[in-house]
Amino acid sequence: MSAVETRIITKRIRDRAEDSWTIDGALASGAYEGLKKAIAIGRDAIGQEQVKASGLRGRGGAGFPTATKWSFLPEASFPRYLVINADEGEPSTFKDRMLLEADPHQLIEGIVIAAYAIECNLAFIYLRGEFALGYERLVDAIAAAHAKGFLGSNILGSGFDLEIVVHRGAGAYICGEETALLESLEGERGMPRIRPPFPAIEGLYAKPTVVNNVETISTLPHIVLMGGDEYAKLGVNRSTGTRLFSLSGHVKRPGNYEVELGITFRDLLYSPELGGGIREDRAVKFFIPGGASSQWLIGSDEHLDAPLDMDYVQQTFGVMLGSGAVMVYDETVNPVLVAWRLAKFFAHESCGKCTPCREGTGWIEKVLFRIVNGHGRPQDLDMLFDVCESISPGVMNAPFTQTTICPLGPSAVSCVASLQKYFRDEVLAMCAGPALIPVSAS
């Protein structure tokens, strides 16, 4: 395995940077060939044969097997809805934005294939409200796909009909959680629903609904074209295929890189064709794999040499590959400052439905703020931990439990658990001394 990009879902974007989002650019580089093959092999062969064989797991964060998710739909219950989660808001994740802006036809093709497989005639793309360019490109691409007969009625003579509605969110991270997303799509405040019932049984408008991430769906045309077995040869163990990693922070070459799962964090951060190493050749102090919701890793050989394998990192270190974001911090960064900013994010984005999260995230933010500003007390870290335990009992031993309806609360405690694990002495030193870094309250 080599530490270079393996371009499957980013091939068109990289090869045709000048027009990858247009219908002409897309058609000239193989768009909708996967759809033609999908219709030729038939709907039953897509989900429970090709997608299942591919081992494809959700790329939004949870890593749930896609074919299994589809199989939960109750038989002969219609209408069904397909909802694409394009509400990318996980801090430091910017892969879906690129897929939406630079290759909307790949997503549309994937949507038609998925909708055909699960027998759905109306699909929604829940798009993050701030993505104005992505919205324009999607709406244009849908119109162009209509004109070519890839959408609408009797698609490519198959007798199958599909319409796609692009629905803009309006600035709420919580709507990336699938049941909050469905509430928002129904015109409500974006507050998560208690499960069960799961969306596959009672989702949008209480009808059977599948919610899939942009990257997951964008992969489908390639799985159909390559064949699920062939796709599953890429990757490692149960982490098959490629994933798009959003690399940011103190690496020399921040950006989106599509790599085969199984390469190591060191490969991702240091390979000349990927991260290119750390700025000014400093050392990695810590990095956050999988987005803000994940616990952290540090610049040790043990952590850097860990493979990008969803199950391995979860079981070994209690972290997740999550949304594919990797934030890298060099030795100049104060980890408490980063933890405070993450806590502030979660406190702001907590929807307020569950008490432990609504109250707890606010307290975590306030206490970390006072530590950062030199007013910390020696007992603060233990007190923080107490608050975290009330949101997420057993937080040091992932997988932990939660006292909240959705995973936002447990995500908010990851930064505190990470401070406790790796930077306890640093926090205690800050609690004893003056402010290290002035931060303005806002």
Binding site: Y135, S248, A325, V439
Partner: protein
């Protein structure tokens, strides 16, 4: 406010595209904000009429979402990210500079926002939801001034191409 003739037609198309009219609350609120630059009580009443719900329900939904400005703001909404990648690449300093620079300018509304998904070019900001990244305080100011002079035009919000 009332929707212009063209936007009223758009609004009706939007409502018709959903199985249930209440789903159109967010898109109609976006449309109203693109037209007027903010989401007024009159706009929410009109949205309620079009979706068959009470104005209070429209307010209840819209007040949940930070993009909807329920008070008039400047013509240019400048959103500066200070989340964890921008945090260590100059985002907070950029925010502070722009807040100071435009505190007396009614045309420019500067706000702090969460991650904008532009971290490879951090620090990043949006002007009326158009992305700009790799910023310095000087280049950010130049960009905002270009919008003020009309040399740059955003897709959305009042005066944008969608209005």
């Amino acid at each position: 406010m009332t929707f212009t003739t063209k936007n009223l037609e758009r609004a009706r198309t939007i409502v018709a595209s959903y199985p249930r009219p209440k789903s159109a609350v967010l898109p109609l609120a976006h449309l109203a904000q693109d037209q007027d630059g903010w989401l007024s009580p009159e706009a929410m009443r009109e949205i309620a009429l079009m979706t068959g719900i009470e104005p209070a329900e429209v307010l209840g939904t819209c007040s949940f979402y930070t993009m909807f400005k329920r008070d008039p703001v400047g013509r240019l909404v400048v959103s500066v990210c200070t989340n964890v990648t921008c945090l260590v690449t100059g985002g907070p300093e950029l925010l502070e500079h722009l807040v100071d620079r435009y505190s007396d300018d009614d045309e420019v509304f500067v706000e702090e926002v969460e991650c904008l998904a532009s971290c490879d070019g951090a620090p990043a900001m949006q002007v009326n939801y158009e992305f700009h990244d790799g910023l310095t305080t000087a280049s950010a100011e130049d960009i905002i001034e270009a919008y003020k002079r009309g040399e740059l035009v955003a897709r959305g919000t009042s005066g944008g191409r969608l209005s």
